[in-house]
Amino acid sequence: MRNVAIVGVGISRYGYRSDSNLAELAWEAINEALNDAGAGVEDIDTYIVGNTGVWSSEPLPAVVIGEYAGLQPKNGIRVEAACATGLAATRTGYSLIASGEADVVLVVGVEKMNESTTPQVVELIGRAGNYFWEFENFGLTFPGYYAMYATAYMKRYGATEEDLCMVAVKNHHYASLNPKAHFQKRITVEECMSSRYVAWPIKLYDSSPITDGAAALILASEDVAGKFTDSPIWIRSWGYANGTSNLSRRSDFIGFESTVVASRMAYRRAGIDPDNPVKFFDVVTVHDAFTIAEIIGMGDLGLAKRGEEYKLVREEQTYIGGLIPVNVDGGLKGKGHPIGATGVGMIVDLVKQLQQRADKGRQAPISKGMALAHNVGGTGHYVFTAVLSVDKP
């Protein structure tokens, strides 16, 4: 297996992008990543498109984007793993290089969610679980699935709706410092608390928005990475796992077993102590599709003791300067959640963090040289974790 470096990153502006179609949005990120790597499309051996689709009109996004970006006749395919599509696509690109199949791979995650109406998007994401047994008769929604975790967690550990809102306040704060983020405004706990319920106890301000966006990476083998950059960021390890499709087949609703399994796999492969991963990372992303997801994710990843995650949030220990900076790009909550782009966008920001070129006001201090990305598909249905490092493995 060869080591794989990230040698260029690019990201579109996230938001309500009625100005761009799928291919244009993808190109916005691809062009920036190519510029960042000092590369051209001729350097790309093959490409992976992360896109969930269904709400947007093009059923063959990899072909449409390949033609638009001048990549044809190079081969590219779509990879899909619900909201974990981005890291799933990145893992596939990584494997092509690690195995020796390719030297340079473009990974682009893109989603155009606003080609459909909000009620249609609510319907389509609500089906992301077990369609026949849990949607057909019971009409669950994406916040509804997470709300069942929120109810169980809050009842068991005494966390409050204000605690959940504090996650939203933090992530909006960092989003306001990220010019590419969907939301550019800070919010208060009071504003969050007075927002309407979408799936009790989850409120609108606990929820990531319906976002259009794209993010891209240029991955290169250790043999050719030096051709593009002097400061590559290395993909140190991967972890991945799945949960049951039916939520009813899970035993408790206070965390995702899939995140526990995936993170321990990544930690073991990177030599990280699973009992104290915090001391290995300068900065992490925790998949915050909803505020409760960031809280239980911290426990699942071992970044906080189970049941005490919300106390770290209360004490502002997940801000820069605290115990562990979490989602300082604004997270899904503030930066936005363009499904297929989200995981790729996490990597884009962690690379910039590790290279100490994040936007003013949201650069975490880098001393350990390692970062963690955590990308969840559905409600713990898919989980991918990636450890990035400044030092070559």
Partner: protein, 182 residues
């Protein structure tokens, strides 16, 4: 309109009638189905084609369990070889690699594990008032996800005793199952 099937179709037709009428008028007068985006004013091409999806889902492998709803019972599949109970029911036991299941009627009694209230509904459920969805652990140790019939969800708590009802859902008029506080 005896059941939800035609009722929902007409509801959705009605929902899209007015916005599409506008696009139809604009297309007729301007020659193109192009309208300004409601939020940004950007020109948007409104798809002139509509896709309607209604899946036909095979249930032969689990028919005994579906059919048991007509008898007012919720059934799981129990592997005759290893005794494992599967709910939702399935035809095959991947542990034993055999497909020899028997109908196991689930206990109608259990305790609430967790719940939510669906306030913002999917398109195909928009004709309903806010509904409560919960997961109940039945006496058999099996979890079942279903609606909870309760006027005031504030009365719910973890561990509240629940009773399963199998019947035609009011308004929708097909047999499904839900919980009521016991």
């Amino acid at each position: 309109m005896k059941t939800v099937i035609l009722k929902l179709k007409r509801f959705l037709d009605g929902l899209f009638e007015d916005p599409l009428k506008l696009v139809d008028d604009v297309t007729d007068s301007s020659g193109l189905p192009v309208v300004p985006d409601q939020k940004t004013g950007d020109p948007i091409w409104v798809d002139v084609r509509e896709i309607r999806m209604r899946y036909t889902i095979p249930i032969k492998g689990v028919y005994p369990y579906i059919d048991s709803l007509r008898k007012g019972r919720l059934a799981a599949a129990k592997c005759r070889s290893c005794g494992k109970i599967y709910f939702p029911p399935q035809k095959d036991c991947p542990r034993c690699r055999v497909s020899d299941m028997e109908v196991h009627y689930l206990s109608p009694e259990g305790e609430l594990v967790t719940w939510t209230v669906i306030n913002v509904k999917p398109l195909s459920f928009m004709h309903h008032k806010d509904y409560v969805v919960g997961i109940v652990r039945l006496r058999d140790g099996i979890n079942v996800l279903a609606w909870i019939d309760i006027d005031d969800p504030a009365k719910l708590d973890v561990g509240v005793r629940m009773r399963l009802v199998v019947d035609k859902r009011p308004d929708e008029n097909y047999i499904t199952y839900w919980f009521k506080p016991a």
